[in-house]
Symmetry: C2
Subunit: 631 residues, 2 copies
């Protein structure tokens, strides 16, 4: 093995932490979902491979490029097999101010110390990433370091250069499996063998005992991620390790690469590492100074994916501090059926979307008219042209335009109503409407009654009860509103019809224009709609969900049986003229024309026949419910 120039200070090639965008996404997700406000360092892995020289096409020269330490996504970097591991920590700060003012030198020195105190060569390649993730803007601020130990007093002298290909292959052939560095010796019989660097003493004792030359120079080899003229920074830490631990002052070094491996003899003297310092902060790739870098992933991401993440952001942040136990999945997983795509339907759909609900079906039989858009927040002027688009489909289409990830569906359907009898010729049509409505109710978890007449709520009340669904009902007056949930057999709370003194009947005919149009103070609908959505979300956070009894605010009562989001009242009746509301509890009425056992039994036994009679015969419901016989 030939000697190299001993008087030249050996140069080393820096290493950069290469961060794929997958890592930033994984970090965002970990911060948002798992770590939240905790800003403890996160252990992360990186990896590297042997360097492969990049050759200048014109001159044939090797180009010096920084070596890469590929930062593993927290779940792995897809498609990049990394042979050798490195360990590090991400210090992901909570605020941009924390990021700016944190003691970066202390963090660097701490990492450098762990290298200096390494117990094995596995600890010699370490890195550090300080970051702040602005998840709202998909922008990441960071500063990275891969510390390398520098001998300030007695640098390593020598000059490593290209290695003979046959020798390189021979040294590479004795690399112990999985070891990024190894020691090599050639026995007297000329056969080369390798061992882990950590076996240095045993290995060299054997060498000394077997060898005839006591002055034998030890040889180390390492996988060099660099590809240029100088060996990479890992060698700095390896030299420190063998010098301080095994007393090596002269060593033959083989930098093993895929192409252009290096070889040479390096020497230092007794003063080695009397003064120790470190290098390794990465320079900003724009300014070439050591300063934080910013990466903006918003432009490179698929906009639909950006929206997916952004939409969840505000919700998941609730769990950071305010409500760590909030179950967002139970809300987001609800399949919601909105009967009515008018003012209430549009506002309820928006409220559900904001809560992360992704499965929304709207039902309406009407078309968008010119008076709608200023009150119904999913329609625009252009939707009204030529008689108007069908409201349900138009609203669903708009929901998709707001957030393409939503599964929104619009169904044009009339709801058959008591008091609106149909001729025999329409029997098939009405039956089909009933079956479609029943199928829709069956396919959803929560049913919102948001139509603009009393009698149109009867059939979905009946079917919702029969199918044991969560039913939320909202109805508007001029400056008042009612928001209520229908009861279940467990809580025995009433439905919309339980308090009624008359059976549902035709309330639509004989109405003047101000009675036909929903004449309400514009503020009533958004308040009622938001209240209806929040009533559902509060309910879903209670262990009993729709079966929970009525817990309510007000008076002298203290209710301990609240959901995570607060009280779960049965009915809220609000009045805008007083900017006030009252919470009411009404128990199920055993002669109710929609939810009582006798009515439900009649439906279960007679099905469509019973519904037809309820629609066509104005006395039927009160007769069978026994309502007419009350005292």
């Amino acid at each position: 093995m030939k000697e190299t120039n001993k008087n030249k200070i050996q140069q080393f090639s820096p290493i950069r932490l290469q961060i794929y965008k997958e890592f930033w996404h994984a970090l965002s997700s970990f911060k948002l979902n798992t770590q939240r406000l905790d800003d403890a360092p996160i252990p992360v892995h990186a990896g590297f491979n042997a360097g492969r020289a990049i050759i200048d096409n014109n001159t044939g020269d090797v180009i010096d490029t920084p070596a890469s330490l590929l930062l593993d996504g927290l779940g792995g970097v897809d498609g990049v097999p990394l042979s050798y591991a490195a360990h590090g920590h991400v210090h992901n700060m909570n605020t941009i101010e924390d990021f700016k003012r944190c003691d970066k030198t202390a963090l660097f020195n701490s990492t450098l110390d762990s290298i200096k105190l390494a117990k094995s060569v596995d600890d010699l390649i370490r890195f550090l990433l300080i970051s702040f993730s602005d998840m709202k803007k998909f922008t990441f601020h960071y500063l990275a370091a891969t510390p390398a130990v520098i001998d300030g007093g007695a640098p390593w002298l020598g000059s490593m250069a290209g290695c003979d290909a046959a020798l390189a292959r021979e040294i590479q052939s004795v690399q112990p499996a999985g070891q990024w560095c190894w020691i090599v010796r050639r026995a007297d019989d000329g056969v080369l063998s390798g061992a882990s660097v950590d076996e240095w003493e045993v290995f060299h004792r054997d060498t000394h005992s077997q060898s005839h030359t006591h002055n034998h120079t030890p040889t180390i080899a390492f996988i060099d991620p660099s590809s240029g003229h100088a060996p990479g920074w890992p060698l700095r830490n390896l030299l420190y390790y063998i010098c301080t631990r095994f007393g090596a002052r002269k060593v033959d070094v083989f930098a093993s690469r895929n192409t252009h491996s290096l070889y040479g003899t390096l020497t230092t003297d007794a003063r080695a590492y009397e003064q120790v310092s470190g290098v390794g902060w990465e320079k900003n790739s724009s300014t070439h100074k050591i300063s934080p870098q910013t990466i903006d992933l918003s432009a490179s991401l698929d906009p639909t994916k950006l929206a997916d993440q952004a939409v969840e952001l505000n919700l998941k942040l609730m769990k950071w501090r305010i409500l760590p136990s909030l179950d967002l999945d139970v809300i987001g997983g609800q399949r919601c059926l909105l009967l009515g795509a008018g003012t209430l339907g549009c506002y309820v759909a928006r409220g559900l979307m904001a809560w992360g609900v992704r499965h929304i079906t709207l039902v309406d039989s009407g078309t968008v008219s010119y008076s709608n858009p200023v009150r119904q927040p999913l329609f625009e002027f252009e939707d009204c042209a030529e008689g108007g688009k069908p409201k349900a489909e138009c609203a669903a289409e708009r929901l998709r335009r707001i957030y393409p990830g939503v599964q929104a569906c619009g169904v044009q359907l009339s709801i058959p109503m008591p008091g609106h009898p149909f001729p025999t010729s329409s029997k098939a049509r009405v039956e089909s409407e009933v079956h479609r409505l029943d199928a829709l109710i069956d396919q959803h978890d929560s049913i919102f009654l948001l139509t603009d007449s009393r009698e149109s709520r009867w059939l979905p009340t009946l079917l919702g009860k029969a199918r044991n669904k969560t039913v939320i009902n909202a109805a508007l007056g001029f400056d008042s509103y009612l928001v209520m949930r229908h009861g279940t057999p467990v809580n025995k709370l009433g439905c919309y019809y339980c308090n009624d003194i008359v059976a549902p009947t035709d309330s639509l005919s004989d109405r003047t224009l101000d009675q036909m149009c929903t004449v309400t103070r514009p503020g009533v609908a958004p308040i009622a709609a938001a209240t209806a959505v929040e009533m559902l979300t509060s309910l879903l956070q209670h262990p009993q969900q729709k079966h929970v009894g009525s817990t309510r605010a007000g008076g002298d009562h203290v209710h301990t049986d609240e959901s995570l989001l607060g009280v779960t009242p049965h009915q809220i009746r609000g009045q805008l003229g007083r900017f006030d509301n009252v919470q009411i509890t009404g128990m199920a009425f055993d002669r109710c024309t929609a939810c009582s056992d006798v009515i439900q039994d009649a439906y279960h036994t007679q099905g469509m026949e019973m519904i037809s009679r309820a629609i066509n015969d104005s006395d039927y419901l009160v007769n069978i419910s026994g309502y007419n016989n009350r005292e």
Copy 2:
């Protein structure tokens, strides 16, 4: 004058009421704004001109087409001069059911009676329109009649035919001014003279005395709106009139037209009008039966105009029954400035539009991000691409898409804030921002504070007070909100800063992501926004408007000093966890850092200099307000 065939029953040509769409618009407007629920008959005018024959281009024959009685718009039919008036009534029903079941025969007979009892020829042409205006759909259902008297027992015999042109000109030349019918006589000297039909007796007495022939046949002429082979229905009523009133049994008749006038002798006998009946219901132009017609104006109207009318419909209907004294103009005329185009700004803008506010300016410095559309109801997914559109302009553009008649404007502007000092180099920029904000406040009536930080409300609070504007403030917590109006020197109520224990300062730095993003229950914003808008509208309905004291609901208090829309509280603090709110009154604090006299005086005397100090010097506001010196 030659005789005509006496044995042929004279036919008459029907007349139709021609209704221009302008009439329907005028009727809609009258119903909506003036008549409302009153369904008393509306007196209306129609008019007619002499007929002008329509000639078949191939045969040269006159085509029989119905004559027109042009129904005057309630304000006149533009561009159609009508020489002769007819009177009638519109029976505009409140409901489609009223329209269907009203006693049409009785209404017809009543009109026929008024013809039969006519005191002058001016009463002989009368008409009747029964209608229902579905103003929501711009559809009008109607049935029209122009009653004519029929002699069932002894019809008029004769056969009127084309009149000699010279004779026609001669008779037309003696028409008394403004009379639609007249009598004609030829003196012995051959000179023709004319007189009003109502002068019949005097006129014919003169004729008899002067004439040598006692058997002279009287001649009547009338302006005939018909143009075909038979004279028009007006002649039926004229014949009835002269027969029953003046005993005429034989008469020469001249039907005066622009072209193709008719002439002939008509006779009846002593049994004339022993049996009287009427005709005159108009046939449906599609079915050719006497049945109601429907006209749909939605397709023929300019969509923007349709929208204008539709948008006002729901509001104006409030005045029909519920609140006749509601002053919609004072609300619709408000120029509203919305500081912040986020969740609150978007919802407030929608609420104002629904109330008819047409002048809305939004101010924001941000761009639309992917997390916005599901919560901020004026943005869509596509608005977020490439860094996002500027929020204020994007929101304004969307308002115009909802209703093209709105004057919506978006201003991209940062609001300078205390606690966020600026370097000297930014002085010009900050001054420009302050002046732009002040100019905007000056140009508007009501200022909504809807930003997402405490300190951003300070400058508009100061300027709003200085310019004596209505200031409404809405702020959100996780599941709570505050909506309040700032006080005036009259009511001495407090502003947002009057209750503060610290001066406005930097609350934006050092915030974790969950503090930087507005983490709220989605229902809070629509409720707070609707409450803010309704607080303004309630205020505007009180005679004192923004100066009214705090009237509020709750407790044992009974407040009589409410506005037409109800209470006018000072502050509403709501909590979604309890589905509840409290109304609070807080008086102005004389050491307030925004609205107190000492602060306002400092601003009035020092202007921009004072604002700069407030922004840059964190102690300035508390020092000059005397806040730090409080006991």
